[in-house]
Symmetry: C3
Subunit: 309 residues, 3 copies
């Protein structure tokens, strides 16, 4: 997806429409602000962030990515942003999964090479998406009280710090006005799980369970091919996984099944498993029209090995 | 609801407001695009569709109908659209429940008599709503690569095909530019459950369980009246249902209770059941301020019979 | 939070931006309409309300506060509005938790001192938020058929009465045009739980369980200090609670633990409980990065007592 990584999606027709009318230009007067949090859809927190943004930047268009990030999971949010941001318009992207709220952890704003502005706690949350948008061009600490709410709580910086920062960035306040620059290399890193390519064996793990029960694995088809050789549709693979968080070395509770390499769900009968490359380029283990995670009791963090059957 | 079927909702005050100011005209420069999917609110998929739409058509107003359609259930999505679309503004309506993604199933765009444009897989999903909006005026296959994302995945056509199509339609690209016309009669049909009127007995089934646990049944009050005679508030009815998917002929697990015909919930005490015509004209069996589906363990597909007590 | 109570949030930069460009003025041509209901995100009901609003007031910006209010719970919705509305822009705020739909209960519109317009059933739902926005300036019954949908159902006034009223208010129709005035003192009251300050003991109750499992209690830190004396970070408190709805006098199922008074989550180790003042000024009992409600089996309505350890 190299094009999407470095510049926004467009098409000839969209470009013509933008040139022909004021609509395209007008879009830039209505800056996009996206939100990604673990606040949940029931609580008022996400709406309060939207409200604060719209009070400060009334023309902003707010787009919710997800408020159902796994509670406290920086990794989960980081993967959601990694998936989503390349497909969103240039904009300000606010992300809050913040178990360290009220501590010395920094609040940061990041400018990416694509031109987006990312806002959130400095806990690694923003880094994979920033890399995917071309890398970090600048980072600043969000410490200027002019761009915070007047009263700062100890437990809801989404409302008091991050939403106001995002809104002021959407108004065009330069990132440098928010506080001192910070060396991108000094930002808190995030270790994304990576697969281990062994002769004849790929060792990986479940990084995300989607709402269909599909299991997203660390690594892509090239990793699997490096381990087991060329991947033809129908190639039979043996997938092993502990049914509790743990290693595949544990025998008790080991799940093992034959799974074909396939291009899409309908390549196998309804209810049967397949291994395929998902639409983001990741390995994915799924049941056609079923819920694999529920069928096998698997969850994020379970280690998975794949070899030829 | 004949008026709603054939033209958008309006009121004298809304019409005056539209005439008086530029607001009404401006609305048409901000086309509405609605989304209905089984993607779930947690995953990034729905936000990615919104992002793709806004990249291509920055002035579009995106309205989410639901992303919690029962996974893989074309019928569930079709009923949601049937309920919702008559109350939405004229617009482009995108719906994706797509178990056949990556197969030969067609992607289609449909123009309705009301003037809406419906976009989705050709699996029957769009047909009940299209009928309710006055019928199908034209249908075209969505196959022009100019109106798709440059890279086409095998498992996420919501992002790669349907969202770009909806966005281009919102930009004003004519439906005919997307691909060859298709005879409406050749679109994949969808069989909606229908009630069976017998002397003294209505045989129907649960077509939708709402989040209150209310059970929406196939058919309306005229069907019930045809079976059991005039419906007066307070008329006592016997409702029978198998508590597993199956027929009412099965004795084991049969649920049977006396239920009054009523006009609204408060006609019966809190916690007690009633049968009424819901706000869409459908028969509905519910508990006042309770959760009937949970109380009796009933779900979509259960067959229900109703007779005079 | 006195400033927020009486006037909208703003900042010097936001004010300059508003003066400098047409953006600020334009915002007032795009009135904000917020929605709070117990309709659930799966059902089409919330989208239908959005659709009706946008048909009548095409320039409105619709902001969802929550559609996951506890079913039928007027108190739950009232607390959500109390939290959220001070942080939202001036606007029209629609709230529907309406177990009395179809009865003689009134539909009301309320103008607050801050300038907002609140719309909903007259069941107490709107009152705590109205007080927090400076009090009620005027209230009118929503009975003018010109501002309703032409056909009025007996079970979905969100669609037929409240959404059209909110949309017409957003268009600028004066509240007085909707129906006869009603004395604010005659509106149905809502009793919010209040804590009882005893010598050395605060008796309170759980008023809201958030999606993190944090337990919001009736009362603030000043109530607790009045009962147990000055609150220093680290002060050890004994919190007692029945693990079923009931009183703390019941011995069976009594939960009791030592909990420190703290300023934020990270003041205690991961998984450990704390008592703190939440970002709305309420007492809150929580586990750092855990789910206290799940750990102890507690829910809304459970009575809680707090004393020095």
């Amino acid at each position: 997806m190299p094009e999407i990584l470095t510049r926004p999606i467009t098409t000839p027709a969209a470009q013509r429409a933008a040139r022909r009318s004021a609509a395209g230009r007008a879009a830039w007067r209505s800056p996009l602000v996206s939100l990604t949090t673990d606040f949940g859809a029931r609580d008022p927190s996400a709406a309060i962030c939207r409200g604060v943004i719209l009070q400060i930047a009334p023309r902003a268009r707010v787009l919710d990515i997800s408020h159902e990030v796994e509670k406290y999971s920086v990794l989960d949010a980081a993967l959601l942003l990694w998936c989503a941001l390349p497909y969103l318009p240039l904009g300000v992207h606010l992300a809050v999964v913040d178990p360290g709220v009220g501590t010395e952890r920094l609040a940061v704003g990041i400018e990416t090479a694509r031109g987006d502005l990312l806002v959130g706690p400095d806990n690694g949350l923003l880094r994979p998406a920033a890399e995917r948008l071309g890398g970090i061009r600048a980072a600043h600490v969000l410490e200027n009280p002019d761009y915070r709410l007047p009263a700062l709580s100890a437990s809801f910086h989404g409302r008091d710090v991050f939403a106001p920062a995002a809104a002021h960035l959407a108004l065009g306040v330069p990132l440098a006005d928010f506080g001192r620059p910070i060396d991108p290399a000094a930002l808190v890193p995030l270790e994304l799980p990576v697969p281990l390519v062994r002769p004849g064996l790929l060792e990986t793990e479940i990084v995300y369970v989607d709402t269909f029960g599909n299991l997203k694995l660390a690594g892509g088809s090239s990793d699997l091919a490096a381990a087991v050789g060329p991947l033809q549709p129908g190639l039979s693979l043996t997938v092993s996984c502990s049914n509790v968080a743990g290693t595949v070395d544990r025998v008790e509770g080991l799940v093992e099944e034959q799974v074909p390499w396939a291009t899409t769900f309908a390549s196998v009968p309804v209810g049967r498993p397949l291994l395929y490359e998902d639409s983001y380029g990741r390995l994915c283990w799924a049941d056609n029209q079923g819920n694999l995670a529920a069928r096998l009791g698997l969850r994020r963090g379970c280690r998975v090995s794949v070899r030829r059957a």
